[in-house]
Symmetry: D2
Subunit: 295 residues, 4 copies
């Protein structure tokens, strides 16, 4: 089995690492705050002190960070991944970032003889724990195929989207849909509430019609309990909304509803809800409507 170096042990990264370890992959991990690695080390992982050190001995390098800036530090920075790589390795970045950052990584890795896949994932805490993520990847087809067994250990489906940057492009398009669905849920539930409908009754309808979505089930049920504990941080959804805006700016694509939605998400973070679940953005619409919600 390939030796894997894993960089970035956030909520998602930790769970993905644990699944690789459980499947028997020899694993070296790196995280900026090293204490996060404790559980994995107990379960048999090695801990490296720098990204450079982490990747030295690996066959496959997996990176899963919070944003482009973190990639800048961990991959391109001093003692970073690029200082430790050698020809023949495969690097995979699972981070949701700008497609142009994926392209920059691809060029940097390739110049050192390292293959590169951008391979961000859909899903959040639960899916990362249950190996139920959905992977969308860009790079060479044969590298994608070669990595499939490893991908299958951490994900439910694996989608090859084309050359480098196409995985992250797909990720941003998908996140646009996620944000739209949360906004739609918030608008519909707020309108329904002010119309005197019962929230559970409304969710009951949303669960069965042809505009249903698993997101409505999960978020809707939590909403009915007024539970905003994070499985996907609102502040990361703002990050994604900003990435989508930047990507659409590069391609000069007008996104009328998503533009409106981004302003709602900004407001939610200004309200101080960045560390709650992304669904907390719905509270902005409730407040705009002057609705005192207690389902």
């Amino acid at each position: 089995m390939e030796k894997v170096a894993f960089l970035g042990l956030g909520i998602m990264g930790y769970n993905v690492s644990a699944n690789l370890l459980k499947a028997g992959y020899p694993l070296t991990v790196y995280n900026r705050t090293p204490e996060r690695a404790a559980g994995l080390v107990n379960a048999g992982a090695q801990r490296a002190r720098t990204p450079r050190e982490a990747v030295a001995d690996a066959d496959v390098i997996m990176i899963m960070l919070s944003d482009d800036k973190a990639i800048e530090g961990v991959v391109f920075g001093p003692d970073g991944v690029l200082e430790g790589v050698r020809a023949g390795q495969v690097a995979i970045d699972l981070t949701t970032c700008m497609p142009k950052t994926s392209l920059r990584e691809a060029a940097a890795f390739n110049s050192k003889g390292v293959e590169f896949l951008d391979a961000p994932v859909f899903g959040s805490k639960g899916e990362s724990r249950d190996a139920g993520l959905w992977i969308v990847s860009g790079g060479k087809r044969e590298i994608f195929d070669r990595m499939l067994p490893l991908f299958k250990v951490i994900s439910a489906t694996q989608h090859y989207m084309g050359e480098n940057g196409k995985g992250t492009s797909m990720k941003l398009c998908g996140n646009l849909v996620v944000a739209s669905q949360l906004e739609a849920l918030g608008e519909a539930m707020t309108l329904a509430t002010k119309a005197g409908l019962n929230a559970e009754d409304v969710l009951g309808v949303l669960h069965v019609t042809d505009f249903k979505s698993p997101i409505f089930d999960g978020v809707g049920d939590a909403l009915a309990r007024r539970d905003f504990s994070p499985s996907f941080y609102l502040k990361l959804m703002l990050k994604d909304a900003n990435l989508i805006s930047s990507f659409a700016q590069e391609l000069n694509v007008p996104l009328p509803a998503s533009a409106a939605t981004r302003e709602v998400i900004k407001t939610a973070v200004n309200r101080g809800w960045g560390d709650e679940n992304a669904s907390a953005m719905i509270k902005v619409i409730e407040q705009m409507a002057g609705v005192e919600v207690k389902y």
Copy 2:
């Protein structure tokens, strides 16, 4: 079995009538353009010349029209339903209309001793044909319960939402979600296309993730074939978007993204696509983005 009068034989009304007939309900039908009734008459239905005549002998009156204005004519107008009713009947309006129109109907019917349910349906051509509609109804609980056997002949699920007007309120909240889904699909597909992604690959991802929705499957596949033949007319989606806007105005509920979406739908109708499928609104976003789409 109750004798049913059915008023309004549009795409949906025709299919619902046919299912009632097939289930053995004695049926009298009325449509402004009487030729629409031919198939039903051949299958055993009676044809009435006026709404008044249609309802005279019925136990249950079902109304399924295009909009509030049509209700004005068929229900409240000369030779209309209200002129023909008698105490003890049950009237059910399946039309998507303003909740205040439902309330006005309820008051008018009740004043003549007729029970009333507003009971609009989700679903379009296919679901009406296959008795797969989703009914959301407002009125007295016991009347709803009494009508359940009849509802089950034409629908997959039946949702009691509360007093009169709550069915149509729910319908508008649901349609808000439908319009949001189409807008999100259009924005995501356009961004993806301009980013060089393959449409079928993108749809493949949308089919499996936790933001999937049956609407993306049906509309997405048709979109990939550039098929905009109507199962739900774009012009009716504009009507609904306008109803949602009016309803939100009455309740003073801000709907930032839905407001942006309505302007896209208006544009689509101005482009001349009102008689195409609702999904034709996506072409507006493609045109705004300057994308020449040929999947």
Copy 3:
């Protein structure tokens, strides 16, 4: 001089009436709450108990109400204006209302041999007091010309816009610009404040450049003092935003930015600021931005 009946003594109507009286026009006034008329009666006006009574003896009938619903009552209702008119009179409605309401009034008045002008006004408290309003009017050109001397007593400029309904159409188009200016001021001031700019410095720039506007001067200075005392009620601005939305719906005109602005105005009223000045809508943007403003 023509005998004038004046119906509606709100902030604006009172001031306009006072100017007519000062200019020597014999004046009969009507207001739903008759105490509002006290000052005018002291200055020589007659007070009528009903609209019908008010107009009986007039040459010119002037109507200035809050909205379409008030027109419904005062003009079309029992003991309303239409019951008191006689052929040869001229009726002028200064209310901001739907153009289709103007058309309905025109038809009703004309059927009684009464000429009709829709003649809403731009300007608020100060301009109505100082005879500085801007009148935009629809109807027959010769009637407009005949009324010019009277118009000049209450306004700075008088604009003939075409047939009936064109005055109110122009009014709604102008109010669209007013709302846009307030929204732009709010967005610019909020962005500036969060960027650490000094509000008075920013207003100093807005006072001189080619995008300056008298509205920025008046509202801006009040904003710098955090003075939201009403010269034009926010709740009336919401009424107007809703009229614009309805008018744009009738004509199927997409208004992307105005649609976004309407949702801000709705929010402001939900915050409880309906009786403050229209500029209070700016506080919504400040709150969305999480800005604690104390200039």
Copy 4:
């Protein structure tokens, strides 16, 4: 008189340079395409082959480029301004750019003993020619004061906004208002046109009311002639709209209407109108409304 180096001879830069020359300032100019300098050289200016060479002998360095990327090349690039400066000079950047770019310039210049002002200007072709620009500047107050005589040669008013970056911050806030006014004009004129109003009549009203603006006069008159010849390129307005979006993202300020407006501007550029005047964005709204405009 100070020796001035001027870098960037676009429409605006050329006119500003010509005014400095006319006022007697010894002038050295640089432009990427050197032919642009011909008229100035004939009138007595020196032409430099590189930014570095241009600034070597100057007391004051003025920079006026199209965007942040051009600053990157001309100021920070090889043979750029920073390679030629010496302690004691004053550098002034008139470019509309990100405030953080101003801060980066300030730091770079200061580290070489060069004082720096960010000093972008409002106004377009006409104002630059007629020395009627409005300057908004950030930096040390005493440097601003020292530069006032020079500023007065090229501008109508000069506004000190605070420390470095505050000039460019003010510029973006002002451009937000400009874009809002063009959008408002476009929406109002389109609604008016579809309502059957005469464009010149509408513009006549916009010229006198308290929501008038010089921009409505200039743009409105050109619009009535369907004249979209550039005095401020639409493509630069898109650049500015994108800067505003990025700046608001940095500060996390929601801008609901400006966000909607940006999507309209994007669409206008996708239509191929980037080299027309900014007011060409109004044609997008006309097309969305299905209005065939021929005033």
